[in-house]
Subunit: 860 residues, 2 copies
């Protein structure tokens, strides 16, 4: 399905109507022809295809010609496999080949041999080298494939101008791809921002003159400068639209009912869209993206439909007033864009390991547009999301994030010439004594984060186990209804969460008449300095309302995160922290007002000037709370300081975020994303975790010590029938090949998929192959040829499987799995094959150590 | 020598006069006693030592008690080795041990067995597990050692309050260590900054009232507001001090002579200090730190003397007016601090792999204080310096960089409340059309960088090969003399380079009367807007002088970088770029003045306001040039934007830096640091490089195919004499152990050092061991015991060496070396041992591919 989507996409994007079935047929024919029919080199073959089916992209890379059919992939693979078993043929063991000095001409000669040796592998069946859904990818193999492909292109580059262009395009395609991803991510984010801005005000009223304007834009044309929370003639609330212009209880009730109604409609629409078109579009997506980036295949998770539905659903869900944000889902959307664009470049689209480089960059772009923080985005990708993050990816991520931010800024969705909704600039420096409340905020943030994670995970696992999980639509509607009903009476919960954060972060201006800024001040003129003042009744009322809002937000977000609409939790976390921070900030401010001469204020408050800004506390609190929930550190600090545009507050932010992380880690090491990965049983091997139990490879390998022997294939003594029996009786994904049943010395490793395909192919195309034919993985025949024709399968044998000894500590094994991106390792003892360890074995072992159910790992 | 330094340091820092020799004796006695004398568990033993020698740090970690002698290290090692061969004893192969379900009590029991099994290894000789100078470290082994140590402490934590404190200290020691490193780095940087500020003005004159003030500070007390380049009554130039107050040719000549004289004195002093006390204190240090962080031992490179001499030498070298900066050396100084402090925490000081985590953080702190850019510092460490950079190191680096920046800011060496000398704030936004000159600047920067790298490398390799290298002091003096003579007549080269950068970055103020700001402006009052104006004669003269300065700086820096004083090249690169940028900027400004209505200026210039600031061009040019020289990208952009304190200019900076990198890479992929690593033959395995030649493990392994068999040790058929013969006749650092000479199946790997020590120890302490004694690496005796007592050496055998098959592509081998931090891999074919590949083999192979001399790799 994913591939078909891609076909369609490529067709549309390229803009040519390609006769796809015919392409496919042609390539299939050439692939399935009798052995030797494709003995011409790959390059000639592909050039021919280019001539037959001219397409704009064809000139760039021959592999796109037969894209979508999977046929190029295995010709690629076979080349890389060719690379591996090149030297198994004795004729290659010649003196010139040993590593002393090899003259350039010799080297070229060897090179050519190796390349053509690869091309003779093109008669393999299609499908080899592709991954099934919910399988783990083999990074080593994919990287080797790409290296081979790259080498081939570099070699060919000198041959003709066309090849040179192709080679140059190949070299730049990574940058080009992230450029496109950045542009698209910025554009989509701009559209989503504008859509959200408009729709969130729809619950309140409409702009009858121009319905497509939100309240702020609608009031721009008015002469009132103070539109916020106040009457603006151009904007009609629903009671007003219904002709009821009085401000009394009835007006309130009509507003209330319509507010709830709109909430229900938006939420219902969002969940229906998700349920109907793209079930993967729910949630924040970050746990799944982490898993995918760690090398797991979830087909359709980053598809076209997910992109569209998630974007639309996000707007609806945010507009419905549910306690959720659009920042997390934006990362998912950006990754969808990355995935879709990667199919334009077969280098990435056809190679799962390479594709993850693009996805890493895309996730950086996602955060970049979500917060207007390109550097924060890169660090978020590095710290939180990505698994492998080589330097090249760092540069491309940065480029991608920057382009996305630039595009979003050009769209200027907030009309404030900044990327973010809550851009603030604090004028004053912080005092040393303020570190104390900042660290207290950090501790509070860590506690709130812990409560949230524990509560949310308990609720989600209850949902999974109980009947509740069967009624997702009802659940969403109930939560939307409760949220709307409780939110409306409280000003601070009724307003959009982003607006609330903006309000809490802001400093009180001179002429500010909002509740939060109701201080007993005497202003002589508007240019006077803002002096520190006593809190008025409005501030006290605000504090009460904010306390209620905090409790409500914490409770409702626990139940909201995980429902079947796009839900991000950056914004809810930030708002909780911002409320806490603002309250602490007002407390500190009043302390400084009443005791301005305390030595801890370093004399800064005794001049009567406002020496503390509660808005800064709100920002620090927000960072602390988000840190407690996600356990981000560096990236979070960078995001927050990119929000404020000043490096002045790094120390306070860092202190709070570190305190929050330490407090959070004391109660449980997993952040919300890791907790969800664990809850859903995704096969994510966390390289950060530390394991305190000692085990050796021999303890976790298959077969266990009290089980039967390992299922192996011998190199030259098994028949087609016996191998097919082995295939039928087991469900392993691959089999070690050994010398013989008696002396189990490891020869290589063969994948089930390759073996099935190759055997089927041999039976179909090779004459004389019957059930009794021997299957040979050697390059020579074992005995004088007798009986039916033997099937030679050395070409599908991986001659370089990764092996370890049985005495290797499990930590080293985990390290190898993480760093080398393996699918399995073979365990040997004194040269003899003892067993096999797959990623699943490792994950089950880890689960068992944590006293969890090892069978909960989702895996094939 | 390094260890002795540390002893002294610990003694001084802890503040107790510890009876070191007696401690050492005690531990030696217990180590060398007859077998079984130390069968009590390690914990009891260490507690006893604590009781005997109470020290403030003793309660934190038992290993510091016997610090400096190396004895703890091998007890540590033996524990980790114990971990590896624990299961080799058949008694451990009991049913409860297989991995099904193990009850917690069982698990504890097994755990205890494993720990005590480790403690019986404490009778090994000292020195095992330490590295020799110029050797590569084995990350896997060091990490395993640390894991074992950690596990042991975690286990003990529950036993007593004291152990709990010790465990908590251990858990926090990483943070504590980076905190101390940050504080020290900030303090040292502050002292260096102040010292440099003072000394650089000494060439010009002195403040007679208070000689410790530099010119700027001296003139503060004056009433003149315009001290810069102008007369200030408090400051006496040298002619004035000599009683010559007239401003004529003689005054100029006296100044000239004294300028050159001071330069020579400073430079001579610097080179003498370096030559006499710390030869490693020369150069920038970054290539060596990269090599050290990649896992290489260079004793004394990060020692106390290097720290002191580099700090002092840096001040002198900068003050002498040589074309060099102090930013690169500051990274070296910070790493020295990191190294010294790591010895306070044996977790880091005694474990080379762990120590590198601290060093990574320290290098971040170094850049943080050099540029006042904590985030830039972390990214620099990540992008340019570090080899392994796990997330934990990221957080700690950030913390360390932040603390260092905070301390430096509290010291406030520049008196401008900012961390950096060239803090600038641009008020105006950039226009889209300006991207064109920015990209041109990027291209120019890439070209200048390439010229610089090629020229410098050619000169340095000439110095290495010729007689020139034998006269380092003469070389420094000659270059200092030439620099001073040419610099003095040109205002822009006479002034300190940092001041020049500051000047070039700055915007022209209203009342600015310097040459660079000599525009034909008519000001009505000082509050008026700065309007765009025609360049006056001063600007034209400046342009001429700047051109000369650029050419001079480029030429002299090529010869300066690499002389035997501390030399950084951040500042010279920045100044070259800044000159280019300022010139381009002035050109653009005049273009906008003369053609303000061009559509590309988007109407911004037609209002008469100053729409382009040449200072911004200088900044972009500086970034481009530094990017061309070092090939940094993200970290450079972040550093530059932390300098300006604004995120507004990320896009221009990024465009220029990317262009510069691409242009530079087109002429040669290596940045200046990598080029110097290559020139000096440091064994640095660059994981970033791509290799296009295909080879298999079998091609690069030892023995080559036409050589004799591999030198191996059999597990039970060799005598002490025969092994000693093998040790004498070869110089390998380790030997594979196989089943027998006939069936070479791999059993394990033993290090030469361990083997020598263990054999010597056995002969000394074990009775009946003679030359004919069999050496057994098995757990059982092969035949009925006859002949002299056998030596059992299974405990020094590494049972889990990393193996690969002979068909593994070399890229995969390099990948494994880089990612797993290996010292060697063993090559097997069908279970049989074929050969061995060391890091040296890989490096020689790479050198050979580049048509370079493979013997140039510095390695043991």
């Amino acid at each position: 399905m994913e591939i078909m989507e891609t076909d369609a996409l490529i067709k549309r994007t390229v803009g040519h109507n390609v006769n796809m079935p015919s392409t496919r047929q042609t390539s299939y024919q050439s692939m399935n022809g009798p052995e030797g029919s494709l003995q011409t080199s790959t390059s000639e073959n592909s050039t021919e295809i280019i001539k037959t089916f001219p397409r704009s992209h064809s000139s760039d890379d021959e592999m796109i010609d037969i894209t979508g059919t999977g046929t190029t992939t295995e010709s690629n693979l076979s080349r890389s496999q060719g690379e591996r078993f090149l030297f198994t043929n004795p004729q290659y063991y010649r003196p010139s080949d040993v590593f002393t000095y090899i003259s350039p001409s010799d080297r070229e000669c060897i090179e050519r041999d190796r390349l053509t040796a690869g091309s003779e592998m093109d008669d393999l069946s299609p499908g080899i080298g592709q991954y099934d859904d919910f399988h783990t990818i083999d990074w080593q193999r994919d990287i080797a494939r790409d290296r081979m492909r790259h080498r081939y292109i570099v070699k060919k580059r000198t041959e003709s101008i066309c090849d040179l262009i192709r080679g140059t395009h190949d070299a730049w395609s990574g940058w080009l791809c992230v450029l496109l991803v950045g542009v698209a991510a910025g554009a989509v984010a701009g559209v989503i921002d504008i859509g959200t801005q408009w729709m969130k005000d729809l619950k309140d009223g409409v702009c009858p003159q121009a319905f497509w304007l939100n309240r702020e834009q609608c009031c721009w044309s008015s002469n009132d400068t103070l539109y916020e929370d106040y009457y603006c003639a151009q904007w009609y609330t629903w009671p007003e639209l219904l002709g009821y212009f009085r401000k009394d209880a009835w007006s309130f009730i009509i507003s209330y009912i319509l507010y709830v109604l709109w909430s229900l409609i938006f939420a219902g629409l969002a969940v229906l869209l998700v349920r109907t078109f793209a079930p993967y579009a729910c949630g924040s997506g970050i746990p799944e993206i982490k898993t995918i980036l760690s090398g797991f295949i979830i087909r359709g998770y980053l598809g076209k439909w997910t992109l569209v539905i998630k974007s639309v659903g996000m707007i609806l869900a945010v507009a419905s007033g549910l306690s959720l944000g659009k920042e997390g889902p934006l990362v998912h959307v950006a990754c969808c864009i990355g995935n879709i664009f990667s199919y334009l470049f077969p280098k990435y689209g056809k190679n799962e390991a390479k594709k993850r480089e693009i996805l890493s960059a895309a996730s950086a772009a996602g955060v970049s547009v979500a917060f207007g923080a390109p550097i924060g985005g890169v660090l978020f990708s590095l710290e939180e999301v990505s698994y492998y993050f080589p330097l090249k990816t760092l540069w491309r991520s940065f480029f991608c994030a920057l382009v996305a931010a630039f595009i979003l800024r050009s769209i200027n969705p907030f009309g404030n010439d900044h990327l973010v909704m809550f851009y603030v600039e604090y004028t004053r420096n912080w005092l040393f004594v303020e570190l104390v409340p900042f660290i207290i905020l950090g501790i509070l943030g860590g506690l709130v984060g812990t409560i949230f994670i524990k509560g949310n995970i308990r609720w989600c696992s209850y949902r999974k186990q109980s009947q509740l999980g069967k009624y997702p639509i009802t659940e969403v509607l109930v939560i939307a209804c409760i949220t709307a009903i409780i939110s409306f009476p409280n000003t601070y919960t009724r307003m959009n969460t982003s607006d609330l954060i903006k309000l809490l972060f802001s400093q009180c201006g001179v002429a500010d008449v909002s509740l939060l800024c109701d201080y007993n001040r005497n202003f002589t003129n508007v240019n006077s300095r803002i002096e520190i003042a006593e809190a008025g009744p409005g501030v006290h009322k605000s504090l009460g309302l904010l306390t209620l809002a905090l409790i409500f937000k914490l409770c409702i977000t626990i139940f909201t995160f995980g429902i079947k609409v796009p839900t991000g939790l950056f914004i809810p976390s930030l708002v909780m922290g911002a409320i806490m921070g603002r309250m602490v900030g007002i407390g500190m401010e009043q302390l400084a007002y009443h005791y301005p001469h305390l030595w801890v204020f370093q004399g800064a408050c005794s001049t009567g000037e406002n020496c503390l800004s509660p808005g800064l506390y709100a920002m620090v609190g927000a960072a602390a709370c988000l840190g407690g929930v996600t356990r981000m550190t560096v990236s979070l600090v960078v995001i927050m300081f990119e929000l404020t545009g000043s490096v002045k507050y790094i120390v306070p932010l860092m202190a709070a975020v570190m305190a929050s992380k330490w407090v959070g880690d004391a109660f449980g090491r997993r952040g919300i994303y890791d907790a969800h990965i664990n809850l859903n049983g995704y096969p994510f091997l966390d390289s950060k975790e530390e394991y305190t139990y000692t085990a050796l490879a021999t303890d976790i390998m298959t077969p266990r010590r009290n089980e039967g022997p390992l299922c192996v294939i011998t190199q030259d003594s098994m028949t087609v029938d016996s191998i097919e029996n082995v295939l039928k009786s087991t469900d392993h994904n691959g089999f070690p090949v050994v010398v013989s049943q008696e002396s189990q010395y490891l020869v290589g490793f063969v994948l089930r998929k390759d073996l099935t395909l190759a055997l089927g192919n041999a039976k179909k195309t090779q004459e004389g192959v019957v059930g009794e034919s021997y299957v040979l993985f050697t390059s020579h025949l074992p005995q004088p040829v007798s009986g039916p024709t033997a099937v030679k399968l050395r070409k599908i044998l991986d001659m370089a499987p990764i092996t370890i000894t049985d005495q290797t500590p499990v930590e080293t094994v985990i390290d190898m799995f993480c760093k080398l991106g393996l699918r399995q390792v073979l365990v040997i003892h004194n040269g003899r094959l003892l067993g096999i360890i797959t990623k699943k074995d490792v994950l089950r072992h880890i689960k068992q150590l944590g006293n969890e159910d090892p069978e909960s790992v989702l895996f094939n």
